[in-house]
Symmetry: D2
Subunit: 336 residues, 4 copies
């Protein structure tokens, strides 16, 4: 595939050169293992300044792990997660949350990819009916699985509703960078400032090699995480090679540069798609994903030109994802 750029997913792209440089830089002599090294300390400090809060940060290997362990550290097995039915945790992680935590995911319909505060307000929660699981954690995805973005006010409304019902709030931030780039917000404005409890901060989809961070905004929630991470097979021995990736990502705002570039190409692609007569784009393209229903002939042609993901075979909905290194030429090539 290496000859052309893929629009199939943002994990088809590679690693930003600055990230490889940071890894090479971290490769100096011996270091303590398991996160006791100086690189990891520096990375954690960068998280604290970036999120403008004394967050607890733990690096893990995959987005699925990041989400699952966020659940495992906040919910007991008889407590449940409230999410949209299309949430990554509900549909795309092979049941990892249920298998690894025992917790049930309560799926609710998404509106434009988003969970509505009214869902939280309407939850049936009994503190004594032990026949039902107890809703405990609200999980939202930013940007959503449909490429739309929650505004800070929308998140605030959700965290407020959650707080009122005694629930915690988790954000699957696999594409948080793209959301922030779209909104022109800082990362802290979309997390710390809106009352989040725990964040899965993705990196791999935005130019990192392989690194995800679980970020706790409440120290008490992180108390057992070191054990949970080890027992769930997510503790890297040579941690510096995970943590170092976040150094240019945060210190040099690589997260923003990469996300801005990917988002811009998604806008450009959207415009090009809309020029095809008969094309429908069912919702906004806030981040780096474009969803479109195309005339059959174009659908086949575009998928041949570069891989894209057939989101819904029934309706013909196709997902195109732009990466940090997608160029105008890559988009144009789709239409030649």
């Amino acid at each position: 595939m290496a000859e052309f750029k893929s629009f199939g997913s943002d994990n088809h792209s590679g690693v930003h050169p600055d990230v490889l440089k940071a890894i090479a830089l971290a490769n100096a002599g011996h270091q303590w293992a398991y996160g006791a090294d100086s690189v990891t300390h520096s990375a954690i400090e960068l998280f604290r300044s970036t999120f403008k809060a004394p967050v607890e940060v733990f690096f893990v290997f995959t987005g699925t792990a990041s989400n699952t362990l966020a659940i495992r550290s906040t919910c007991r097995s008889f407590e449940a997660v409230v999410a949209t039915t299309i949430a990554h945790i509900n549909e795309d992680e092979c049941g990892a949350p249920e298998y690894n935590t025992g917790c049930k995911i309560l799926g609710f319909p998404a509106v434009n990819g988003k969970l509505l505060p009214s869902v939280i307000e309407g939850l049936r929660i009994s503190p004594t009916d032990n026949h039902r699981v107890i809703p405990k954690l609200v999980s939202i995805t930013q940007a959503t699985e449909l490429g739309t973005v929650y505004s800070p006010d929308e998140i605030r409304a959700l965290t407020k509703a959650a707080r009122a019902r005694g629930l915690l709030v988790h954000m699957d931030g696999a594409r948080l960078a793209n959301a922030a780039a779209h909104l022109g917000c800082s990362l802290s404005e979309l997390t710390t400032d809106v009352g989040l409890d725990v964040l899965s901060f993705g990196g791999t989809k935005n130019g990192l090699l392989c690194a995800e961070a679980v970020v706790f905004f409440r120290k008490d929630l992180a108390e057992s995480f070191a054990y949970i991470r080890k027992q769930s097979m997510q503790l890297a021995s040579k941690m510096r090679y995970l943590s170092s990736q976040y150094i240019p990502y945060l210190a040099d705002e690589l997260w923003l540069k990469n996300a801005t570039a990917a988002n811009a190409m998604a806008q450009y692609l959207r415009q090009k798609l809309l020029m095809i007569p008969g094309t429908s784009v069912p919702w906004e393209t806030d981040a780096n994903e474009v969803f479109a229903i195309l005339p059959k002939e174009w659908s086949e042609r575009l998928q041949k030109a570069g891989p894209a993901y057939p989101w819904d075979v029934q309706t013909g909905l196709i997902r195109f994802v732009c990466s940090f290194d997608t160029t105008r030429e890559d988009v144009d090539r789709l239409f030649i």
Copy 2:
């Protein structure tokens, strides 16, 4: 710590430059995710030629994951693992095997770090007594947790005994390279040829950045592994950065060069330690680990000179581990 070399563990060392080069080389354009890329295909082919068998190979992130998922793919929850009490799976993985598989580990005393065939022969196995778990998988560690090495004949005796009782055999090969280097054997002579069913083939402790491989010698045992790996949060999206590490490792015999170097330094260190009057070295130094009980003064002094691991506080037993990049000067510096 970066100024000096550690003897605390072989995961204190960094990444061999050839491995970083292979990663950089893999970073060319877009590739399919989740292992469908050409780099991963090449790496798997290298495993097949190296192990001289049509093995099924899956890359995961940690040694704990590699061992745990080998168990999960061969044992049902009511089947048990037979290992030494000092096995890494029994003592050093925070209960990950039990937590993630439900399986019990039956621990037996190690002799020179090794499991004896008589343990297998003496197992109480009933096919109908459902009050007891059913022994199903024998797990041995090569090189052992004590730095000793099983000979091919010793492994053959174990796999034969296991076969006779209807058991499968797993090898925790976190330091298999060091064992092979010590014995002058090829990797296949220590695995394929001696009747192994599944191998956790380590890399991280021998100069890789972060890559472990689960290698199945029986296709049927691997049937569900793709699902198990995903559900257990061990599926890398950008797989090429894991698999590429194994390319110089296998193609250029980097495994052998690194392991030979580390082993040699362990021998050199052992000789130096034995020159201290009153030192006792309780067993052979076959691989890259030296265990010694030292006079108190020397014990403190050596641990100050460079980190080493206090294996047993009671007896004063200290473990020194040499890495692929440990030099004579590094060893000498301990004694200055």
Copy 3:
């Protein structure tokens, strides 16, 4: 509460005298434990003649266990259960299926309490997409959670659709007796004859003390059940006191007598309720449960007269359940 009969649930009623007699009869001297006793052998033979098939039968303690272990014995952790959102396994078992099996339950809308074959036909099943769980088991409830009943043809349509997609079919038969009584069918006509794979055959809600049976129509599915039952803490040591309950239940058709009586009272209650102006009964009363939306004044009055279950606080829907020992006088008393 003992002074009046409850309509809150059919587990508010007690034990049929014949069942207590059977238990007392089983209490003769010593017997082998764990199911190797003669009473259990007789009970199992009765199941085989009743279901007209060489079924494998295992007694457990609760309906939740019966359902959960049926799942555990047919699905691997990455395989999923297809059910209605209102299924007992989905809503009323405190997440026991997920916790004890790791499996995900895929919930689909119920129509009149029932799962439709079109749901099965429309399932997205990929044998290789390891990001999604694999649908494996269809689970239906007979009588449904809403008191409606699947006809044999309706079940046949479901098992046929399931077979066509490679799925197994489980029936939560907590109230199978009531369904059979309603339809005038034998138990085998509703299970063996319509292609069921595994049945949770309830007893406790229909006059037994505490006994549920997991019935396998395919021997191979039951292969590990003895171990699964023990490991899941459902193996009774003095098994004869569980199995003996099924002896009058099956041999004397107590299941039918009890269910017929309960169903008749539900019909009688339904007629009485419909005489209250403004009452709406949203669906058929096939079995022993009546659902009604009542005028506020009547709703309060009836719930005061004898406990009934407020099914949906929003809509005011109330559930009344009749038991094997509910009498016309008990129903009449509600309206005095």
Copy 4:
């Protein structure tokens, strides 16, 4: 088997007539389900007066469940249980504790069936080493699996040692009644007074039909137990038939009468066995179990006369268990 009494296990015997009477008495009209009934309230009050403490009590179905859920409610998955290798939880529950809690059991050698305080004192406990599970709960069996009995002082020494290391203490009291009968102690003297945290109080082996109780001496440890019990499939709907069994058991001291009778017969049997030349009885017969190594001819003869359990085929050690209804004639019959 019904013609003769078994010495194979105390669950080969049946139900004491008083217990059946209590069950029949509880069978009066309708009652709230799931433990909200008046019988269960009374039973719980009896526990509080018997144990002379405001204990929290929960009824479950099996001893394995009672032990496993005691662990599940006191240990997180990365915390471990300290027990003897021969503990029922370690050897005889098909891995239920590990499967259902994820926790590791750390097995230590038993001395006369007992765990020694020195084991607790010598535990390696690190609050930060997340590679190892954290010992959290000490579990002892009273009477032990070998039929010996801990004195109150012995238990006190264990709870004191545990407290000093920050550990909780659980007692598997499957045969606590027999221990108390032997010692002439009240139940509270062996539990409340010696600093126990949680007790699995057995009944089934001592004349009940099927009832075990988890008794918490610390309210906070019981906080989530209602959910844990339901999710672990141990919540009886018609709870009164479990709880009622404990009413004669505690109110009329049936536990003591039954246990005293069984213990006396074990003493009588022991004397008879010791009269056989060449017999060796390797430890005290404190409770209702006699262990003996017999001359081959006698071994075969006695096992033919009435089932007994071949404890260790290698050494020829046989276990004889006396039940509440074992008579002198039953014992004598063995020797005819």
